[in-house]
Symmetry: C2
Subunit: 348 residues, 2 copies
DNA sequence: TTGTATGCGTTATCAG
DNA sequence: CTGATAACGCATACAA
């Protein structure tokens, strides 16, 4: 009963490799060999002694010491925009899964889209010597990222990319996704189509807007029918209300993310607007209730898991191969899930 | 331009405290003093030299080395049931926020309710010398937790507790929450009330079932009207379908979590059941769409943020004070948010 | 096949 | 006020 050794409630000092060596009557290096499974030239007798000593003492190696020596921590950092967003949790989960498969651990950090927090997390992660970083970056720390890449430090961007920075990025084909959604709405007969997006200080959103505008222009829609609305969660309702008092108001909407979807749903409900007859919409991001809502909600679904996994593969590859991924951009495709809210099942 | 020093794309060795000492013409210990803001007996001249050298070299301290020396990592581990659950992300977020305030970092691990994964994460976290652990525990590693507590290692349980283990826990008053919900339904005139819960190998769920049964018995409901259904996400639909073919089928339901809520909604929708007239329900866990759904969904809402923050306070307190929290149980109260789905706004 | 010596980058102790 | 030196726990080259 090893528990007998630790009667007192005091914090017990953990046994070290030296203790094991002493207990087993061998040297530290031999124990070290054992721990790292270099059994090749080890007599089964010493092996047995060491095994016993380890069990006896309840020895577990100290990774901190190991890391200091080996200059790697088997840990990576993830910097997400906000862990409360589905997309962030999904990619985190995917990254974590791959890490576990490969013996790595991930530290998840919330930058909240604030460059200050982002910087402070990067600094902390580096101080902790994490072997690499996967980030959903803001655009406020480009010099810092440039510095990292220049030092040969493994970094992979996810979801977003930053212009002129030589860091591989796993992204969605946002332009095409938005363009396709708008094209579908146009084809359904809509002419006045709105786009509701979060602040355009983020590449992803700008690309989506570009796709939207491109589709509208291709279809030669009059300028009066183009409603590109840059909103925050706080003012989305007000903007919608205002827009819908106007004559040429949109009959369809492309919504930028699940948060804005909620605002839209709130708006629609409060005004008693009929979906999709009075207003059709399709939203970026899959939501769990898409199929259950009345009407069901059309979505532009991102392969979040695959994207997260890909990012992790690239980063871990970079770490182990010691050379950065070949491509600079790994693009994934969104899939439209057409349901009732964009008028799929009605005759216009 | 410090960037000039690192022309080659090769991985640059980071400057150490020794490099700074050399550059500044002082000793390592003096630089160390400086880094730790022990300026008391330091001439402003040396201070300046060190400052300059640090900037010159772009020196940042190595926390791994620091941790090895100081035997603390300023890192804690969080073991959650599943990061894809809202509750887990919310508590993680709350914990992380407090950690950041106090200069700690959190490593989030997904145990997926699998004791094996849980054990392997605990081992890994300990190997990495994290200063403490917050866990939503399974009941498959009680000996391991017993060992930890016996070693005086800081652990706090969250959401769940384990019998006979001397570890402080932050929990919901599940019994009372379930009892209250059932009492409300009874008061609304329901008699046949069902309870849909996940597998009962988890204390939280058993407590809720106890609360449910207590309320039913208090109200002297006949045994035929008690529908306690232990289901998984996979078979929930089938169980519901089966139950609703029966004569004494429930007219109201208490749902155990947001996953089962989705299944119930799917069921209700596929069968065209009218809520709340043909079936009323209330669910544990707040969902973002509760107010938007048709009908709006009554919820039993947990103060996830406060619970997470409390757990973090207890753990960080234990770590810094070096003695465990006074109480063994910190109980939070759920709040019922009565909306349409449990018949709040209709006359029976 | 195993042991000895040295260093990883810090901090702590104690002289000076 | 500052510096030399010894840890911290492990891995590795080299010796034996």
């Amino acid at each position: 009963m090893k528990s007998l050794e630790v009667k007192e409630g005091l914090s017990i000092k953990k046994p070290t490799i030296a203790d094991v060596a002493h207990e087993a009557g061998v040297s530290k290096s031999t124990v070290s060999q054992y721990m790292n499974k270099r059994y090749e030239y080890m007599s089964s007798k010493t092996k047995g002694k060491i095994e016993l000593a380890i069990k006896e003492l309840g020895y577990t190696p100290n990774y901190i010491a190991k890391s200091l020596k080996q200059k790697r921590t088997l840990t990576i950092g993830i910097i997400v925009a906000n862990i409360l967003h589905h997309f962030s949790t999904q990619v985190s989960r995917a990254i974590e899964d791959l890490c576990q498969e490969r013996g790595y651990q991930a530290i998840i950090c919330n930058a909240d889209d604030q460059p200050d927090k982002e910087r402070s997390y990067i600094d902390m992660l580096r101080a902790k010597q994490v072997d690499g970083i996967i980030a959903i970056p803001t655009e406020g720390n480009t010099e810092l990222y440039a510095e990292l890449v220049q030092q040969g430090y493994p970094v992979v961007f996810l979801d977003r990319t930053i212009a002129d920075i030589d860091i591989p990025a796993v992204v969605l084909n946002n332009f095409e996704a938005a363009r396709g959604a708008v094209a579908h709405l146009l084809q359904q007969g809509h002419r006045s189509i709105g786009m509701l997006t979060g602040p355009l200080n983020i590449s992803v959103r700008r690309e989506r807007v570009d796709g939207y505008l491109y589709a509208m222009e291709q279809h030669e829609v009059e300028h009066d029918y183009i409603w590109m609305k840059e909103v925050t969660k706080a003012n989305a309702m007000a903007v919608l209300e205002n827009m819908f008092t106007l004559k040429q108001r949109p009959t369809a909407l492309v919504i930028g993310n699940d948060f804005l979807l909620l605002e839209t749903l709130k708006f629609v409900k409060s005004k008693g607007i009929k979906v999709p007859d009075e207003l059709a919409f399709i939203t970026f991001d899959e939501v769990e209730y898409a199929d259950l809502f009345q009407p069901t909600i059309s979505t532009i679904s991102q392969p979040a898991f695959q994207m997260g996994r890909k990012a992790a593969e690239l980063l871990l590859g970079h770490i182990s191969e010691k050379k950065r991924p070949a491509q600079l951009k790994y693009e994934f495709t969104a899939t439209m899930k057409l349901r009732d809210s964009c008028g799929e099942n009605r005759s216009l």
